[in-house]
């Protein structure tokens, strides 16, 4: 018989003076129960329960650590609790906003004709009927959806060529010239222009050139371009910069001209990043309200001509329906429409964000064998 030597299980010197692994879970359970008990005394609500439990958990864990592990470890635990707490607090508004929009927006969105009718001819009288007699909700966001799409497409058509060509100038031709540095600096400045100032600029420019009171979809598109161009420049610049110089040199060494090298080698290599940056830029401006408010006004009817007449858009539709309900005595139908529009807008923005990620993945240069 051979006796195998098994080391005697004892607490290692390295784990002395440490909280057991399960300590956070134990403290959490205690904190949750205590928190529920305290809240039960003063009136229960989930939000308060979360806050009270979090405070109890932090106090409990840090206190226990202070006794067993000493000041340094306790401070570390406190910092960890605060940092995690900060993250959880940041999540609260995100979920609250999405939840509020979903709950309030779904009924509006599910109304028949919500996406396919405009607000043309929908007056307060109809809304009063809806509330008082239960008549179906009339009116929808078709005109606003159309306006948003037209204005955004026009803004994209202006911003992408200007932004992309500028990025190409900065990366491929600018070297370290004073002009390139000036452009970089002013693109930074443009990034910081408040959106309402961009709107005022477009309005002021068109007032001065075309005539006072000019408000059309095109003016709004110009305003959005002022916001969009710097975003496109910055993201495209970043993407062009990470194209390895070796590829440019390889093309030059084959006797390819610079402009063809840029068009056929550099741009295709960076295209996934550029396209995803442009999509994010669109997502950013599609929800802009203030610049459209001061440049395109608001309309209740379908206007497919960006060059004449006021134009509705989703954000301004939400804004006016909340601030100036169609029927001042019964604002509920208007608020239902506003939330429905908000839900549509959020879905659009999320789709664009998701699209940006997909584009980045699908068009990325393939390396498979």
């Amino acid at each position: 018989m051979t006796a195998t030597l098994t080391p005697v299980r004892k607490r290692s010197a390295l784990t002395k003076g440490q909280l057991p692994k399960a300590a956070p879970y134990i403290v959490l359970a205690v904190a949750l129960i205590l928190g529920a008990a305290i809240l039960a005394l003063i009136g229960f609500n989930a939000f308060g329960w979360g806050i009270v439990s979090a405070i109890l958990f932090t106090a409990g864990l840090v206190g226990w650590s202070l006794v067993v592990e000493g000041v340094r470890k306790a401070k570390d635990k406190l910092a960890t609790c605060l940092v995690v707490g900060a993250f959880l607090i940041a999540l609260v508004p995100l979920f609250s906003v999405i939840w509020t929009v979903l709950v309030n927006g779904l009924p509006g969105l599910l109304d028949p004709g919500f996406l396919t009718t405009s607000m043309n001819g929908v007056t307060g009288a109809f809304d009063n009927k809806t509330v008082e007699e239960g008549a179906p909700l009339l009116g929808g966001i078709y005109h606003a959806l159309m306006g948003t799409l037209l204005i955004t497409v026009l803004a994209t058509l202006i911003s992408v060529p200007v932004g992309l060509l500028t990025a190409i100038y900065l990366v491929e031709y600018g070297e370290d010239r004073a002009l390139a540095r000036a452009i970089t600096f002013f693109v930074d400045v443009m990034t910081g222009i408040p959106s309402i100032v961009a709107g005022l600029f477009a309005a002021a420019a068109f007032f001065a050139v075309v005539g006072p009171g000019t408000k059309t979809g095109a003016v709004a598109a110009v305003a959005l371009s002022v916001l969009m161009i710097p975003v496109v420049v910055r993201s495209s610049e970043e993407m062009l910069k990470i194209v390895p110089n070796e590829l440019r040199e390889a093309a030059y060494a084959l006797g390819v001209r610079k402009w063809r090298t840029i068009l056929k080698v550099v741009l295709p290599t960076a295209i996934s990043g550029i396209a995803s940056g442009i999509t994010l830029a669109i997502a950013r401006v599609i929800g802009e309200t203030a610049p459209i408010l001061v440049t395109a006004g608001f309309a209740t009817t379908i206007n497919a001509n960006v060059f004449s007449g006021w134009m509705a858009s989703l954000p301004t539709f939400i804004y006016t329906q909340i601030l100036n309900p169609t029927s001042p005595s019964n604002p509920d139908p208007s608020s239902e429409r506003a939330w429905g529009a908000a839900l549509v807008l959020i879905i659009l923005v999320m789709l664009l964000n998701l699209g940006a990620r997909l584009i980045a993945r699908i068009f990325a240069p393939k390396t498979g064998r």
């Binding site: 070796e246 060494a253 084959l254 006797g255 080698v265 290599t269 390396t367 498979g368 064998r369």
Partner: protein
């Protein structure tokens, strides 16, 4: 289809800094010439002036003449793009275009210049170039796959195929094996031996055994100290440079006493 290169009194500057001074060298057609020397001696810089690739670096300029069969590369009215289509280059690290398939990489020089080419002609050119780069058998079944999926050595041979598809007179190689393993290096060296039947080959290398193995003639560059310009010290038949050099500095370098 290969031409000789004669360099007369060439100086290379980076802005005001003189990087390479007073180079005179005559490179024969259909031969392999190796440039050796310590790091920073200007041999890669000089190599780039042979097809005007140094112009990609801001501030770089040259004085003197580089004659391709008697035509000055730096003469008035000469377009660097034309120069580069006659004098191809292979770089230190393999750099196939990541967005293109193997086939498109070979055709890159033709297609990027928008030259019309029929599918039949293209097929012939792809096969001939890949054969010429000893790569055809390894990739003929996956020409549509991306070039970046190949191994490092295969990628480098793909880059050589890409360079010879343009049908240049001269091929410049800037340390083409420094990023490769010994077996891939051997494949490239064999290829260089075959290439000299058709092309003038100039190769920069840090590896003296490699220079001894592949080249007919060897040029030794050296630098007197930091901040001083690099100079061509000695140029001659490879066996002479390695066994019986005239200059003391060359002998010190090839015998491993410094550098």
């Amino acid at each position: 289809m290969s031409k000789r290169i004669d360099v007369k009194d060439l100086n290379v500057y980076y802005s005001k800094f003189l990087a390479v001074e007073g180079v005179n060298i005559n490179i024969d057609a259909k031969s392999v010439t190796a440039f050796i020397g310590p790091s920073g001696c200007g041999k890669s810089t000089f190599l780039r002036t042979l097809n005007r690739m140094h112009e990609v670096i801001p501030g770089a300029r040259v004085e003197g003449e580089v004659l391709l069969d008697g035509d000055n590369l730096y003469g008035p009215g000469v377009d660097p793009v034309t120069v580069r289509s006659q004098i191809g280059m292979v770089f230190q690290r393999p750099n196939p275009f990541p967005t293109m398939s193997i086939r498109d990489n070979v055709l890159a020089g033709v297609k990027l210049n928008n030259t019309k080419i029929s599918k039949g002609e293209a097929d012939v050119l792809v096969e001939r170039s890949l054969q010429g780069a000893n790569l055809w058998n390894e990739v003929k079944d996956r020409l549509a796959k991306p070039g970046s999926g190949l191994s490092g050595g295969q990628q480098q041979r793909l880059c050589i195929a890409r360079a010879i598809a343009v049908e240049p007179q001269v091929i410049l190689m800037d340390e083409p094996c420094s990023a490769l393993d010994p077996i891939s290096t051997l494949a490239i060296e064999d290829l260089i031996n075959e290439l000299k039947d058709q092309y003038t080959v100039v190769i920069v290398t840090h590896n003296m055994q490699q220079a001894a193995r592949v080249s007919d003639k060897t040029a030794f560059f050296n630098i007197a100290g930091t901040g001083k310009p690099g100079k061509l010290i000695e140029f001659g038949d490879t066996p002479t440079i390695f066994s019986n050099p005239t200059e003391k500095a060359t002998e010190d370098y090839v015998s491993g006493r410094f550098g």
